[in-house]
Symmetry: D2
Subunit: 293 residues, 4 copies
């Protein structure tokens, strides 16, 4: 029998993910400070709780999809909210991208109530969230992961188990820094191409035929050619994730020279007002640094 699920966090990612669970037949309760955000889900049959506490008390599994470490702490460790409402035997699945140390801190707190926690951040943005084709990176007890795999199978096309709590978060930071560096690398190549007179469209078609082609290149090609970068994944969030990856690297003594160089470019982009545009707007920052525009 399917567990009942409570969902907290109805942003760009949370809404389509929760929608997929309702459509898959899960008994879903949602809570959001802004009640309007719950309407589309209620129209599909989801219930709405009037508080996080009420939500927690009425479900088997609590899923959170929040913006950062501080928000996750604020929501999950609130004695008057989620934390105080937990009861032994429940599972909390946190799908936010946060610092591994925050994951471990939260895990400890909920485990003290007899509750299991999985950190299960995702790779993929709004489109795969909507299509249920996310890639899900899981940390926590393996048995708990296996038990809840059906939920991940609805939300994503694949899920991977990486070990104890924090390892899902660590895997997410590692894959995200690859993403940021891939787009920094593409942008540096495009700037060199622009400066040396290569036709941009031809260059991108060529990339599409080579061993460094990746789905993200085709996804970003229309925006690159249009020169407009509405956010699919905001540049400021990539800057944050680079920061988390470098913090994790610092604490385990891993040297990441190119990641660090790319991060500084993202900091510059944010300082120059590009934070709310798409991650691909890093191209605009690199163009500015090379005297273009």
């Amino acid at each position: 029998m399917k567990p009942t699920i409570g969902w907290i966090g109805l942003g760009n990612m949370g809404i389509p993910m929760a929608t997929n669970l309702v459509k898959a037949g899960y008994d879903l309760t949602v809570y959001n400070r802004t009640a309007a955000k719950t309407e589309s889900l209620q129209a599909l049959g989801a219930k709405a709780a009037t508080s996080a506490r009420e939500l927690v008390e009425s479900v088997d599994v609590v899923i959170t999809m929040l913006s950062d470490s501080a928000t996750v702490e604020a929501v999950l460790l609130d004695e008057a909210g989620v934390l105080g409402g937990l009861r032994a035997g429940q599972t909390v699945i946190d799908m936010s991208t946060i610092a591994p140390e925050t994951t471990r801190k939260v895990a400890e707190a909920v485990q003290a109530r007899g509750v299991s926690l999985l950190d299960a951040p995702v790779s993929g943005s709004v489109k795969p969230a909507t299509e249920g084709t996310l890639v899900i990176l899981v940390g926590g007890e393996q048995a708990i992961y296996e038990q809840h795999k059906p939920i991940f199978d609805v939300l994503g096309k694949a899920s991977f188990y990486f070990g104890a709590n924090g390892q899902g978060s660590n895997a997410k930071l590692a894959i995200n820094m690859m993403l940021g560096l891939a787009l920094q690398g593409l942008s540096e190549a495009l700037v060199l191409g622009e400066k040396t007179g290569l036709d941009r469209q031809t260059f991108l078609e060529m990339v599409g035929q080579t061993a460094v082609n990746s789905p993200i290149v085709a996804m970003k090609t229309p925006a690159i050619l249009a020169g407009e970068h509405p956010a699919a994944f905001a540049l400021k969030h990539m800057e944050k994730d680079f920061g988390l990856a470098l913090d994790a690297a610092k604490s385990v003594e891993a040297a990441l020279p190119a990641t660090s160089a790319a991060h500084q470019t993202f900091v510059a982009a944010k300082a120059n007002g590009l934070g709310d545009q798409d991650i691909m707007a890093i191209l605009l920052q690199l163009e500015a640094m090379s005297g273009l525009k």
Copy 2:
């Protein structure tokens, strides 16, 4: 009617490429200082010239596939060799990866003899060279490119025209720096993963499901897991190409911060004896820098 072709440069790339031309029915003459290198091609029907001069005098099209800018200059600008043997109406196709300025210098010299030059470096290493699935990046006169496109169709799965002489070389430098940076990024992610305790095989499988997956990841996965890196594309050649890209960038005033950081890691790898291993051995250098092994 197919033009007759003379091929100079029978290294790891040159032999399979020339072989494909013979198999496709081209009348091919080869020359190599080490005569033994020409045997397999002669067995397939190629002719062997006893000197570069003799080769040049007997063909319509001369193709060179050499190791660096200095060698290309030495071979093509030799008055007693290729240069002196050229006659108006011939075409030289240089498929080596060299500095765009060398391309332009050589083009000028051969054009003074009424001969056209295409710079046509390739993306792809031994396997696509053997399978005829290289990607070919062309600079020179467009009409000359169109005229010789059938040759490129034998050697590669796609060819792209990028403009005047030097633009094929520029495109090659831009795509190669993306390659180097992609493997540096993958390696930095793997080192972070190793230090934080992520299972490497699971991580690579996960990468294969995400938007940053590219053919090169799957190609390098067996070597990464085995920890052995016999050269498909030697690290020292990538170091050289990074250097050429940064030199080109310097001359056109393009700032490439992450490329430059990656290049320094490749210099370190070469200084630590990894130059003759595969480009993927950059992982070993990053591991050493993080105190692993």
Copy 3:
């Protein structure tokens, strides 16, 4: 009349600094978990408290010189210790190098008790601490700084007022990153010199004659020539301070590309076991990265 002072934190820096205050005639009380550390000061006339609480309750001014942000929080925000013992009108002077945000958090907590806080980290290591020639960087209320300037005049050769709480810490991070980068730059020059065959002693003498000469070069020259780097200022502390500077820069959106590149080299040095040696051991890491030794 001189205020009575309580000193917490008797490490390599704290002991000589506290000693100078006693010698200057201040009525000083010390507390340290390891009682043995207080002996030399008691021999000079200092009193020893049996607890931080007792110390706080018996003095006008509390000075802390501790190792990091976490320790400062633990010591100053302890309700059963310092925090609970404070009374309105006292001043706390924290001379530790910590994150500006920690400074502001601690300042707020003590101000709620009617107590003023100055953040007053120092530039200089054991020798200037002993000689009373530190440079002191102060944040907090200007009047409180002026009031306690006589204390700073004993401890240092100069003190500078930088504004509200946290600004002393910010100034310290900025000057320390200059220090780290100066020694990274010196080391990179020495490695290039070593690889190109320049005599190291002659090179260092030459640096001493140029516009980039600074006291730190002469201070480190004997260790460089001896190839031995016992810690005056441990490399791991510089790595920590680089990290704090980059965290501060990230939060105010300042891009620091060379600082960030140097920081990664320090992370690599720490990962390779050089953390407990002197900051100048960064030379050994750069030598290793260039295949030397």
Copy 4:
């Protein structure tokens, strides 16, 4: 008896240096394509040659102070000019900052005529050139250096012998990259200070009291506070010298991560039109990258 000297290269550095030699009583002949440049020196008693060839034929020692490797090659290796006019027993002293490999190439060419060459680039810009307080870095035969030391004693406050030809150039690249990195580091600290609200003048005064203070800080302080950067040493020349240092490092396999990061910032500054301003204008580029102004 003093040797007769011929001076080629009357730029910002050449004029005051040649002037000091005339004032010191040397019999000096000058040549410059723009004859007007020789007037001030002729007024002091220098002779003017009508060609480089005439100059070479009439002196014992030829000194060149030119802008880059290409110019040095063009001037010194001209068979119709300097090279053809040389006679056995003369000495050429090249004080330009050029690539070590160019030095060695030129040395070989003049030695074939029985002429000795010293590479003797200088550290210091117009002010020390005028005051005769340059620092001179010498490569070539030691006996030839000793023989001509009196000339260096007029031009500089110190000269250092670094070994065979090219070693003066190598030492110059190493000291110049320290200079560039020092000003990049100062600028990064100033940007962090600006973003966190530190008063710039106070910060610079503070730097002046610490172990990282160097003469260059005081020299640049007025320009920093005025925000105007007329060229003492043009930023584009520092960009060039960074490039030469990194090329030398690449060829000897030395990894220079922070130098490389700084170089990219200088490339960006040049791309943004700051090349003709003073090296200290790197601050403006770093401010722009952090969204200031």
